[in-house]
Amino acid sequence: MNERLPRECELLIVGAGPAGMAAACAAADHGMSVVVIDDNPAPGGQIWRAGPRVDLPLRAQALRERFERLPGLRLCSATRVIDAPAPGRLLVEREHDAGVIDYHRLLLCTGARERLLPFPGWTLPGVTGAGGLQALIKGGLTVRGERIAIAGSGPLLLACAATVRAQRGRLVALAEQSPWQALAGFTIGLWRWPAKLAQAIALANPRYRAASRLIEALGERRLEAVVIESLGERREIACDRLACGFGLVANTELAQLLGCALDERGILVDQHQATSVAGVYAAGECTGPGGSELALVEGRIAGLAAADQYPLAAALSRRRARWQAFAAQLEQHFALDSSRLPPRRATTLVCRCEEVTLGELEAHSDWRRAKLASRCGMGACQGRVCAAATAQLFGWAPPPPRPPLSPARIDSLLLAGMEEVQE
């Protein structure tokens, strides 16, 4: 199982979600030697995460099977990128070893993560992200009979509700902050994507309430209830779990470390999914959240472009445009409205690593000063949670990433000094 890490390849893909798998297939079909590194124990990314409670869509199963049998592919699961020590080289770490991998071309399929926003009670055990709860359930968590509230914005809430229902959890609230008009506009627009319309109908839920605002989570030792405001009225709803979805944030840290330009959605790419750095491509939600269909087609285009198959890549641009339009619809109708976010309270913790509250941060004018004065973001998570939160709450530009990209053993970092291949 734990064979040696590869030393080099023509195409190195970071991330084995839909985009990474689609890209690997496209590039390997054209004869490239491909290495895929992925931090999860099995391919699939967040959306097609494998686990004992998983019933993957057929399309995902088919792609995974094809991916895992690709000739010329090396998949390194449970492997994290920790630094880019030299051009054309990444430093990676696994549980028991580390190594450098040299590449001719690099494709970033690093996906997106949930935006977690601080609100009163958000650190109570029982409160998770909506995607986080889905991942826990897929990983084997039993929610049968538990009272579950879901709140925030976006279709992930509905997907989470469907997962909860399938596992016989009791959905006690499903609070969407966008108003009915926005939801209706979104649903009406779905005729252009029939599969999505069918999905929307399948996910429809009688507990779904629009224009609802999460106020706080209550509990002593763990979550006991949530307060939700709807139609001007606040209700306390007893529950065992609260899953929040406040949208996704593109994972751009590695791209930034490599010097790739970003736009407001994620990594900036051209029509070939090429970034601003020569030889480095990006596809999927790290270029901006847009769903698995868009990730798949972007991944294929990137894989083809990396294999210099430009006409084949160009032939897919219409399909990409179609799913980009869908992503734009999502973004438009589920945009976070700060007046509907949970109210701020000075005592609410923002940085869990260093125990910094909102009140301690409010006095500052930017991330750097706030960090220096309060130690916010100096902990092991490297500010991934609190910097995304303060970007949303205060409009502060998040800090540029610093190596190592995730906590790494000092022994592993020593490999960055390695000059030549050691066999």
């Binding site: 610093r402 906590p407 000092i410 970092l413 020593l414 000094g417």
Partner: protein
């Protein structure tokens, strides 16, 4: 006061306590105070360096009881590690030099060293222990020093130094009888002919491992690295933060202003650290960063009146010792501005020492 780092903040604090009304202008640019280690250490590269350290450490000790808890002042002491008999001889010289300056220290046998810091590799020849050395969290202490009656803090960038006034980026001008330039490396953009140069350094901090290390650990070769005039050098320097995190240094590089972490050099620095503390290999690092020290040709700061510019005072070029020597810098500036008797001989730190052979400049 131009600059709100530890030196500017200390000077502002001292002048405000003396009754002056002080306005501090700071652009909020990345600076040495926020990048550095916060080690209060007695270095003896020259008599003047040691005199400044010694006077300053006494001032920090006096200030310590008033510092806020977030300032994280902790008298951890320094262990200067000897790898061989030569190092031990260096350690003994250092002990004698520190004793002349009134700083107590003692030579430690290998057995005692192993008992004090069990994670150090076996086979070291001993160490010099300086108990009076300490650490603190400089960004917080600088902010605290500025929270003083008589000080107003202005977040703005100074774009030009004029006669008894400064021009800000937004076009405003602020006038003052006394202007103190304490802007570290940024000072070079405001005043021509300052003999200061950037020396890049790397630091790395680990996750929390409380109780593993208790002293600041420094190799005896550190002094040679710190005082080198050129080239890239690496020296082992490690500090246990009050959080249980380990802060690991150090590197020195000339001729670069690129702030990026250089993985190969970082690896060299960590290799050296692991040579002293083998257990470091399995410890998780969480963040590496770089900073730039403002260094003068002789390694001493520039403290005192500008020889030609009316009302202009300089407090800069502290290299890696800005946090250690900030209180004495402030005391010298205060004495100069108020015409009081200086607490120590100010002549080794005067700007004029660089002017004898250089053509006169700085005047427009």
């Amino acid at each position: 006061m131009i600059g709100a780092g530890i030196v500017g903040a200390s000077c502002a604090h001292a002048l405000a306590l003396a009754g002056l009304s002080v306005r501090v202008v700071d652009a909020g640019l990345p600076a040495a105070t926020s990048a550095g280690m916060g080690h209060l250490v007695s270095l003896d590269g020259s008599a003047a360096e040691l005199a400044l350290c010694s006077d300053s450490l006494a001032r920090w000790r006096a200030l310590a009881p008033s510092l806020p808890a977030s300032g994280a002042y902790h008298r951890c002491g320094t262990l200067w590690l000897a790898e061989n008999e030569d190092d031990l001889a260096t350690a003994d010289d250092k002990r004698a030099a520190l004793a002349m300056a009134g700083i107590g220290s003692e030579l430690i046998t290998p057995t005692r060293l192993a008992a004090l810091e069990p994670l150090l590799r076996p086979g070291l020849s001993g160490a010099l222990r300086v108990e009076s050395d300490a650490i603190l969290y400089a960004p917080r202490v600088a902010d605290w020093l500025l929270e003083c009656v008589g000080i107003t803090l202005e977040r703005a960038q100074v774009t030009a130094l004029e006669d008894q006034q400064v021009r800000l980026a937004d076009g405003r001008r602020l006038g003052a009888r006394v202007i103190v330039l304490a802007a570290g490396l940024q000072a070079g953009a405001l005043l021509e002919g300052l003999p200061i140069e950037a020396k890049k350094g790397h630091l790395l901090v680990t996750d929390r491992y409380p109780g593993r290390v208790s002293h600041q650990l420094v190799e005896l070769g550190y002094g040679a690295s710190a005082h080198a005039g050129q080239g890239t050098s690496v020296a082992f320097n490690l500090q246990a933060r009050p959080t249980g995190q380990l802060l690991i240094g150090s590197t020195r590089q000339f001729d670069t202003l690129d702030p990026r972490v250089e993985p190969a050099l970082l690896a060299r620095m960590l290799e050296r650290a692991r040579g002293y503390l083998p257990a470091l290999g399995a410890i998780n690092a969480i963040r590496a960063w770089t900073g730039f020290r403002a260094a003068t040709p002789d390694g001493l700061p520039i403290i005192g009146r500008h020889p030609e510019r009316e009302g202009l005072w300089l407090a800069l070029g502290h290299e890696g010792l800005g946090v250690t020597t900030a209180p004495s810098t402030a005391a010298l500036i205060r004495a100069g501005v108020l015409g009081e008797h200086p607490p120590l001989d100010p002549s080794p730190y005067r700007f004029e020492r660089f002017r004898a052979s250089a053509p006169a400049d700085g005047q427009r």
